[in-house]
Symmetry: C2
Subunit: 700 residues, 2 copies
Amino acid sequence: MTIIDQLLRPRRVAIIGASVDQSKLTGRPLAYLRKYGFTGEIYPVNPRYDAIDSIRCYPDIHTLPQPPDVAIVLLGGDKVVDTVRQLADLGTAAAIILASGFGEGGVEGKARQDALRSAAGNMRILGPNTIGLVNVTERIVLSASNALVTDELVAGSIALVSQSGGILGSLLSRADAAGIGFSKLIATGNECDLEVSDFIDYLVDDPATRLIALYLEGLRNPKAFRATVFRARAAGKPIVVFKVGRSEAGARSVVSHTGALAGSDAAYDALFRQFGVLRAERFSDLLDIPIALTTAPPLTGRRIAIVTSTGGAASLLADAMGRIGLEAPPPDEETATKLKSLAIDGATLDRNPIDVTLAGVRSDIFATILDILIASPSYDAIAVVLGSSALRDPEIVSDPLRACAAKSRKPIIGFTSPHAPQLVRRLNQTGVPTYADPESCAVALSALLQTTKRGLPHCDIPAVSENCSDVSVFRTLLRPGTLNEAESKRLFAHFNIPTTSEVEAATPAEAETAAKSFFGPVVVKALSRHITHKSEAGGVAVNVRPEDVSRVCAQMTDRFVAITGWKPEGFLIQELVTDGIEMILGCRYDPQLGPLILLGMGGVGAELYRDTTLRLAPVDANEARAMIDELKVAALLKGFRGRPPADIESLVAAVVAFSTMAAVIGHDLQEAEVNPLFVRPAGQGVIAADGVAIVNASTL
Amino acid sequence: MTIIDQLLRPRRVAIIGASVDQSKLTGRPLAYLRKYGFTGEIYPVNPRYDAIDSIRCYPDIHTLPQPPDVAIVLLGGDKVVDTVRQLADLGTAAAIILASGFGEGGVEGKARQDALRSAAGNMRILGPNTIGLVNVTERIVLSASNALVTDELVAGSIALVSQSGGILGSLLSRADAAGIGFSKLIATGNECDLEVSDFIDYLVDDPATRLIALYLEGLRNPKAFRATVFRARAAGKPIVVFKVGRSEAGARSVVSHTGALAGSDAAYDALFRQFGVLRAERFSDLLDIPIALTTAPPLTGRRIAIVTSTGGAASLLADAMGRIGLEAPPPDEETATKLKSLAIDGATLDRNPIDVTLAGVRSDIFATILDILIASPSYDAIAVVLGSSALRDPEIVSDPLRACAAKSRKPIIGFTSPHAPQLVRRLNQTGVPTYADPESCAVALSALLQTTKRGLPHCDIPAVSENCSDVSVFRTLLRPGTLNEAESKRLFAHFNIPTTSEVEAATPAEAETAAKSFFGPVVVKALSRHITHKSEAGGVAVNVRPEDVSRVCAQMTDRFVAITGWKPEGFLIQELVTDGIEMILGCRYDPQLGPLILLGMGGVGAELYRDTTLRLAPVDANEARAMIDELKVAALLKGFRGRPPADIESLVAAVVAFSTMAAVIGHDLQEAEVNPLFVRPAGQGVIAADGVAIVNASTL
């Protein structure tokens, strides 16, 4: 029995600081356990009572008859550490700590959280600053959430793991109103011990759970997250995440709230994309997407039939769907003929939206139309508009909808045009995902399509074996601090990134001699470990005739010194590369998520248009291709307006090589960048024309 | 008394085809007039009854005692035209036609709509295919909308004009649930006569209306729309529009629905932006934005204080706000000190979000905090999170919110974290804009800021006086069809757009002679009225020495003929321009909205990144500057990473000149484009290096 099993299905629950007053937070856990029929033993602990709700109450932890599986600690900050120590000594398996004022409360709080962790010994902790958890499947509530007072506990197949107890309550309340049930509800709070990944790992194997919804503020163990998300994908359980921190204001509020490390949101986004985690853009998507993914069959294409009795609402739906790449094509001839045979006065049946008008709002008509559309080769899914007529007689439309959805292998969803929360609830409860916003319908269908289209993850977590590169060799290249261009490119070349032919020279005279070994004009650069923007410092001269190199070097030195105050360490004489599309290839070590790699259009494309994409390193060739496809510059690489296609396969190889370098070196490589990386016409390869690497000084 | 006045405040209303059965559409108008206490005369017309609801019923139109101000025609398609003729003959001021099957019903329907229009003579028509209108201010309902059966008619200051009756009903129902009232509700349907602009024009002067919300499918009279929107802005009445047709699927569904011309959505977007119409992105925004704009005071900056009792929900809010450019900065020292003096246990009061925790959920604490924040120089608005505690005792938070909002000169808005529709309704009703989605809070605040920041429209509708250019001269330049580069640039030059120095030559020999008058190498181009993409056809040679020109021209001719099958009409010898930022400047005559101009980054910037912006022509210098500022390439023009700033003022002048050309020529200029337009360093001007114009053949 795993610890999460014990937490979700305890036989003995102690409630430390339980109160008789059910209106108080301290009164709720016991009341909830009783209300939902907990069949195990309950040990309330409070010296002020002999019994609570006819259950024997214990004066302290030492008097408990047996070590509990789970202890819910309702005491305030001061007493928590001592209580935890006592519980641990008794052999309690896990404690749920509600108190706040720990990791989220500045330096002092963090120290208290460390003390808590150490007092727990082998006992596991959920929290602190958690509202607890609920095993909805088996109706076991170990929570003090306010939301459970008013709302029903409806079992469903969505598991929710939230780093905020308030958000858990908010989602429970919203889901209840929409007729959606959960399998498990878990608030992880400050995660001083158990954290989101522990629960995801459990939920992947939980037969009652078909989808995992996450509210995230930041990951404390990204490695575990990656591993567990990978397992979830392999098990076919989608993960939908709403993560805050996409803006500075949001990130700051999170830090202030639970002390979670905010990290770079762009890096999180890369992580989610790479590992197939669906990111909810709006808060409401965190319920809207799961509703569809847990009830509708797979969506295998983009063609949506819209059935309506009211034209305007159908236009809203068609427009919202079209905006995110779904289509609402007219029916094929056979389907159109079948639809037209219904011959409803004033209806437009052979087009899409299929408008039955008020005259067609009849159960038999809807059922027939749905049957025709389910059988039609023209459509992959059906969206039905529920107009104001559906408010008066909900069963007219909802009955055929439910019946057809139950037998359809295509998704069927509903959209309520007027305010109709009861209808939304009713339809969701009967297995027809139904939404009040046209945009939510589109988002839900799009999520269905994404989930269907992906196969198994194409990005494994490759074990970067140390022998993929000779450690003893590249270690010598990792001089702490900023490497100059020649040093950086030697490092890149070691990892098989093609670089320009170049020769280092210590003096202008040496440089000229070197230049004469090139065919034709060369590029002259000042080498510097101090100045990375060489061009701005006058440290680059392009198209220099070999016989001019000595003079150019001398002038360059003067200007470089004048502008930067640094003397160049030497000169780099380089072949002149002019053809090819300029890309940028970079990596950065994210303190939270590890090495990231960036690919983008070079020059203005990166700077003005942010045409870049991120991944966690390393990536394989498939993932590198996916990165390229995400860029707008992909059109240019593939041969744009009659231009020759570029050497995409060599670019893929360079991305893989660069990401391998980032992964192998790890934390020691603070950041590195090839800019520009010229991607030449197909068959002619890529070439790193300039670059820089920064090695962490601390580690060597 | 205007016709709209008569429609909204009639004294005598005839109901043609009235029924005694109130459950039927034909029974509703009379029932509604009675229910809401209409004090004028009602003339039901139906040969089957002597009276309906104790009101005398007339057998036909001829027997009516007096011409009605308004006749609601409830008859079906066949009888409508004849009825309209009879009503017109009687001297009826206006008829509201509910029947469908007109303009939206294909060729046959369009013919019927024409017949309807002609039968009406001087009588005005609302519809056909309309659900009618409601003067909520004075409780006069001339509608058969289903939505009025169940929902309350709450008076407010938002006027809604909708081209769809179903959408009007949907919004009425949603607004009612959210506690929002309207001043006027008007469904314009097919607009065979009266259309949206007629109503906007009236509403600008309606004292009960503070804001106009529009549901648009397409404009039938864009000129009138521009004029009336301009009036609304001058009157300080915001217009918020939700327009469908942003995707192909949406546009097609609209055409099928009401036969509205879809037009180019990008052109509509330009129109809205140019004339300060706020565009609702999501359907729900069409209510959410008006709620804030009609109740909250102006927002004068981006700094939002967030007050909460639950951390997670505050993060949602901060994050959503940050994503659209709002800020949640910490308080200044004095404000922080005041907040901290409240000394609530466990609360974080000196930061933002200001988290009072559950311990601080007290009316007096909220009132004090709101007072401190209203007085604080750190904030421009306040957003308050309503957590689950607010559900149990709504008045604890809502009372101080209402009281403070009433006296505050800063906007105060609410966000309900749990599902709390009653609380949303209650707060909206008491003047505190309150939302259930964090993103809606952000959108509402952003709309407030946009409305506050803009002054009077900076884009007037300039009367393009014909004397701004000599008509007789440029008319001769407008040869029907595609103009070749030389012809196009003569046209552009006539409108004061600087072009490259160039000489036309009929033969290679002439070309060489011409080239020798240039200093240094030239550009040689093949002139063709048939081929616009000269480069792909081998029709451009750059950097040609004058002595090579004859040979280059001969070779060019051969290649050009081989590739295109067309012989060049001659050659263009052109100065070589290489410096400057490449822009694109174009215009296109939109059949719906008239001449549009486009400005964007040239080359890859336009093709890959769509870094372009549109306006209706003509634009003035301010609007041209606004266009430039919308582009990402603006950063480059302004001097990027130490590059010299470009000659933006000359670019502004060129945009104004080009737009004047588009406006003056109007429909005759189908499209034109300068590409590239080189924008040189400041003081050195702009220069059109290539271009094309297409003149409508039909008009000359």
